[in-house]
Symmetry: C2
Subunit: 245 residues, 2 copies
DNA sequence: CGATTCCTTGAGACAGCTCAATTTCGGTGG
DNA sequence: CCACCGAAATTGAGCTGTCTCAAGGAATCG
C-alpha cells in the first residue's frame, strides 16, 4: 500500500494536461513537484474505507479505482469510477465518506492534504481546474442518476458500455465507424453495483446483446462493438446526446 | 419571468451567510452588489430549459426549484432540488443541460455570467465557497445514487422525507424529540420523479407510513412526523449516518 | 359551488430478483 | 502441452415488488 516508486518528472507525466495540474505553468509545476509523492496499490486493495482518515488528496496516474457506498445489510452502490487524471479526496475534509478500491494496479500522485489546501489558495490555476473537474463530476453523477432512476436493465447496460467505450477511445470518437474493441475493467458484479442491478441480470442482458449481434464477447474482459451506433440506440437517450456531450 | 423587484442590500439578505457570497468581506460584497440583479419566477414557470442559453448564474434567495432531465419518451428524473442559498448555473458553460423549474414563487439573485467568471478569478473567497458548495452538491448527488440504485420504494420515501425534514429544520435537528411538522413542497409526481418511482407507488407508500403511524397527513402539503427516529429507521441507512452527516 | 387538479385505491401484468445448478475462463503446476 | 482448480459467468425456474391501466375521491381555486 505504500510501495515507494520511481520519481516521475511532472513534465513527462502521462496525465500532465488533464489532471488538476493541467493549467499550471512551469514555476507552479515546480512547487507541486516539491510536495508530491507516489503511492501504488495492487488490484483489489482498498485505497480508503468509508470513515477512514484521509491524510492526502491525489490524482490517479494509472489504473482504475471505484468509489462506492454500502448499506449495513450489504447492498452496495458504486457512485464513481476513477480513471487516470481523476482527482481523489476532498480539500477541507479529513475523512472519506466512501469506500475507494483499486480494481487494477493503481498509481496515485499524492499531496498531503493540509499543504495542498494552502497551495490552492495561492495557485488559482489549480483551484479553477479543480472546480471545473468537480463540476464535470457533478454532471456525470447527475447523468448517472437518470440511468439509475429511469432506465431499464437493457438501457443501463448499453449506457455503461457506451460510457466505457467513449472514455477508452481517448480520441473522442472520431472513429465512430468500424468495429471497436474495448477493455472492460469491471466484473459482472462491479457492473451490477454500478447500475443498481444484480449480477445475474447484467449477465443476461450481456447475453441478449450478444444474441442480437450488438456486441461480441472475447474472453471475459474484452468486448467488441461492431457498430457503436447500434449500441447507442439501445441507451434510451436521444442519439446525439451520447455523442456531442 | 423578468419582473423587476426591489433592491435588497446584501447586508440584510436572508442568504447572506450561506450562499456563494458567504465568506465575502464588506468590500467584496460591495463589488458583487454592483453587478447583481433580481429575477422572479412564478410557481410552475421554467427558469431554463435543457439546451437553453443561460446568460447568468444566480443564487436562490427564496422559493424552491427543481433540476431535472428528461428522455424523449417522457421519462423524467429529478437530479437536484434548489433551495434558498443554492447556486444555479455553471461558470464556464453557456447552456444548461438541465430543465430548471420553479415549483413555488422563486426569487433569484443573478450575476451576468461573463463578469462573474472574471470576478471569481480575483475573489478567492467566492471561488473557494463555490468549490465547497459544488463538492457538497456532489456528495448529495452520490447519496442520491445510493437511494436510486439500491433502496426499496419504502426506503426511498423515508429517505426523502428525512432529507426534507432535515433541511426545513434549519436548526440542524437539535430537536429530534417531539413531533415535527414539515411543509412538503413537492407533488406526488415530483416526489416520484425524484425517487425513480411512479406517482401511484409514492402514494401507496405514503399511505402505508400513515397506516403504520409513522407519519400523519394534514391536507396535501403538510406532513406531521411524531417521532423522527421511527422514520429514520425506515431509510435503510445506519441510523447515525442520517444524523451526523 | 362547480371545476380542475391532485391524490388514493384496486386488480392484473411484467421486469428484475432470488436461489440453484452448470459452464467457461484463466491461471498453475506437473 | 495438458490436466486441474478456483473464480467468474451463464442459464434456468419461480417469486415478488413495482408498474400499468383504470376508476373514484378529496383538496384548492375561482
Amino acid at each position: 500500500m505504500n510501495v515507494p516508486s520511481l520519481d516521475i518528472k511532472c513534465a513527462q507525466c502521462p496525465i500532465r494536461h488533464r489532471a488538476v495540474c493541467a493549467r499550471c505553468e512551469a514555476d507552479e509545476l515546480a512547487r507541486l513537484e516539491e510536495i508530491k509523492y507516489y503511492r501504488n496499490y495492487e488490484a483489489g486493495q482498498p485505497v480508503a474505507w468509508a470513515g477512514d482518515e484521509m491524510s492526502f488528496v491525489a490524482s490517479v496516474v494509472s489504473g482504475v479505482a471505484t468509489v462506492s457506498q454500502t448499506l449495513e445489510d450489504g447492498r452496495k452502490q458504486m457512485v464513481g469510477l476513477l480513471l487516470p487524471s481523476d482527482f481523489v479526496g476532498r480539500p477541507g475534509r479529513d475523512r472519506s465518506p466512501y469506500d475507494i478500491t483499486a480494481i487494477g494496479d493503481v498509481t496515485l500522485c499524492c499531496f498531503r492534504r493540509k499543504p495542498f489546501e494552502q497551495l490552492i489558495r495561492v495557485m488559482p490555476n489549480v483551484a479553477e481546474r479543480l472546480l471545473d473537474m468537480t463540476l464535470d463530476e457533478l454532471d456525470a453523477a447527475r447523468e448517472w442518476m437518470l440511468v439509475l432512476g429511469r432506465k431499464t436493465a437493457r438501457e443501463k447496460i448499453a449506457s455503461l458500455l457506451v460510457i466505457i467505450a467513449r472514455r477508452s477511445t481517448t480520441v473522442g470518437l472520431s472513429n465512430i465507424d468500424g468495429p471497436l474493441t474495448i477493455d472492460l475493467p469491471l466484473t459482472r458484479e462491479a457492473m451490477a453495483d454500478y447500475l443498481g442491478l444484480t449480477l445475474e441480470t447484467v449477465s443476461r442482458q450481456m447475453s441478449a446483446f450478444k444474441g442480437d449481434g450488438i456486441i461480441q464477447l472475447e474472453g471475459k474482459r474484452k468486448v467488441v462493438i461492431p457498430d457503436l451506433r447500434l449500441l447507442m440506440q439501445e441507451t434510451g437517450d436521444d442519439m446525439d446526446g451520447g455523442l456531442i456531450a
